[in-house]
Point group: C3
Chain length 254, copies 3
């Protein structure tokens, strides 16, 4: 049996909103350590990886590892029934037919109980190799969201160049070419920023999808290494993280 209670439904609502445009059906793994999920988008360019440690739940119990096949689209609809401040609990029996989801408001006079039908999915084992990232950039998640959205109006692709002193986002398109340079020499970022310079190009369409997660955390961490997928990481306070991996575009000039 699996059972977990979140103090505020808002956390799960934001997580599901942040992945529902990227993945539709996923297997969620419930183990005694917590919940986790890994899934690729339908075009196999991006990967979502969610980790929610059991310590972040108000109550958590998983007698043994269980796999819950979930339609993210449907779960998102059910979560709309919850207010942000509602207490949320989930329960699944060994038979694995339903995930029972309950919301209750603080005054307890409104109780919602929903039995979400579970689905059967082939499980995909996705190996994410350990990488030594040459650049780690921490920036305000809303600034990153705005920047990616606006650059997408001008180009499909952004080139990110990261060094110890700055991170630079550049585009080229029919309209012209542009560069946004952000200095990173303030003390809080410095300690996170490693030395090597790295330049990689990415599809803005995906970055814009990842940016739905900006409501989860005020800052976002970008990790880059040569010829390696970009990691866009949002911390989920006291619980874990939501990470997106995006393969770089092949530079046509090389």
């Amino acid at each position: 049996m699996f059972e977990a209670t979140l103090k505020e439904a808002a956390t799960l609502k934001k997580i599901i909103d942040a992945i529902k445009d990227l993945v539709t059906d996923v297997n969620i793994d419930a183990t005694p350590q917590g919940l986790s999920l890994q899934a690729m988008d339908s075009s196999h360019v991006a990967l979502v990886s969610l980790t929610l440690g059991q310590q972040g739940f108000e109550k958590y119990r998983a007698d043994r590892a269980m796999t819950l096949g979930i339609s993210i689209t449907n779960l998102a609809k059910v979560l709309k029934l919850a207010s942000n401040e509602d207490k949320l609990s989930m329960k699944a029996d060994e038979d694995g037919q339903h995930l029972q989801i309950c919301f209750s408001n603080s005054k307890q006079e409104k109780q919602t109980q929903f039995n979400l039908n579970l689905i059967t999915l082939d499980s995909e084992h996705l190996g994410i190799p350990e990488t030594n990232y040459s650049s780690e950039i921490t920036m305000n998640s809303f600034d990153f969201q705005k920047l990616c959205k606006e650059l997408h109006q001008l180009s499909e692709t952004v080139t990110i160049e990261a060094s110890i002193e700055y991170v630079q986002f550049s585009i080229e398109g029919e309209v012209g070419s542009g560069v946004i340079k952000i200095s990173t020499n303030d003390s809080s970022n410095e300690k996170d920023t490693k030395q090597d310079k790295v330049t990689l190009s990415f599809a803005l369409r995906y970055l814009n999808m990842f940016n739905k997660a900006s409501s989860l955390c005020n800052y976002v961490k970008l990790m880059l290494a040569c010829d390696t997928p970009l990691v866009v990481e949002y911390e989920i306070e006291n619980m874990g993280s939501l990470k997106y991996y995006l393969a770089p575009k092949i530079n046509e000039n090389e």
Copy 2:
């Protein structure tokens, strides 16, 4: 001759917004007692009934009963010209060609006068039988609006079960099944709640159209009786009420 003045145009703006998705052309009856309107939606599943007593108007005069054939769609467009706080007056001569609508703001320096063309409609006499409702539920109108909107994402139909202690909204669909239970044992509601338990199913599409009226009143009254249309009633302060009637769905399990 008919003449009526409202202290604030907002009242009529909200009423017309609340019915314009349901009915397009209607006869409004102006009598010495006030204004009233009854109309069915085009699919004859729902009925709107509006009563505005003369006492709620700043000025009211109807020498004899008159019927005003109004295009609600056009009236809604004309009312957009009025600010919420404008004084609104309406006037119709015996010949019944136009309804003259005037708005003026408090400083009187802006005056709008519109002659709305009246139309000729077959009058429909709709008998609403007096019913002894077994359940009357009063709830926050915005909560009811939110609930119906979100349930509609998951199902076409909601089943309402009302008893003395609670009201319960349940749905079943491809996604799964769910129940929202609201306790009604607080003292303010208790006195309004009668004893018998009743269970009926309704099309959420219509409830969502009725919910446009939530701007008229902070609470909504639901009245249920076995095999009888649901009444969804919004009080219009000092003036009357806007009531919607909705036929229950036949339960296929019976």
Copy 3:
């Protein structure tokens, strides 16, 4: 060489937003006196005329008169990269291939540089004859925007009648006929209002496009004279003005 710096990007953002629905590609003239632009809309019914005097820029330099062919659509996209409070500078070399646009925020840690491709356009010399307007009306720009938008729901055309005591907007359509009369006998307007009465009709579609400029200035000036295009003028504080000219409709009753 041409170079100009604006203290706040907001000014240019608002100007471009206010003309981008009307004109797509334009020649901007940069002279030692400042920037100016004149362009007709594609259907040759309306004309936009922008004047930005050099005194309104934080820094301004134009060695000789230069013509910059600009895609307004693309410039609008580039300006989205700027925050309202960013400092904005523009630079063009003699070769006229690009307009370099730079934004920087006050803390200077974010710098955006964009090279907008310039385009070659036939230059159109539009003579606007000096006119002695019989009526000049000054009104709140948001009120005028709201009024035009709502009248457009009811009619394609508005007839403006201006006299010393009032300005009147009237429409006629299938829905009915209406008149909005605004008294202008307050002292602040009186001095701007000349004596003759004038009545002209205009396409509301264009007035609604002009009204995008209401964000530039809290008031708008309407200037009318018999058989002459209406002028709708928005002042740009300390810099100049944005004027729209609109040819009157021929009155079919005459």
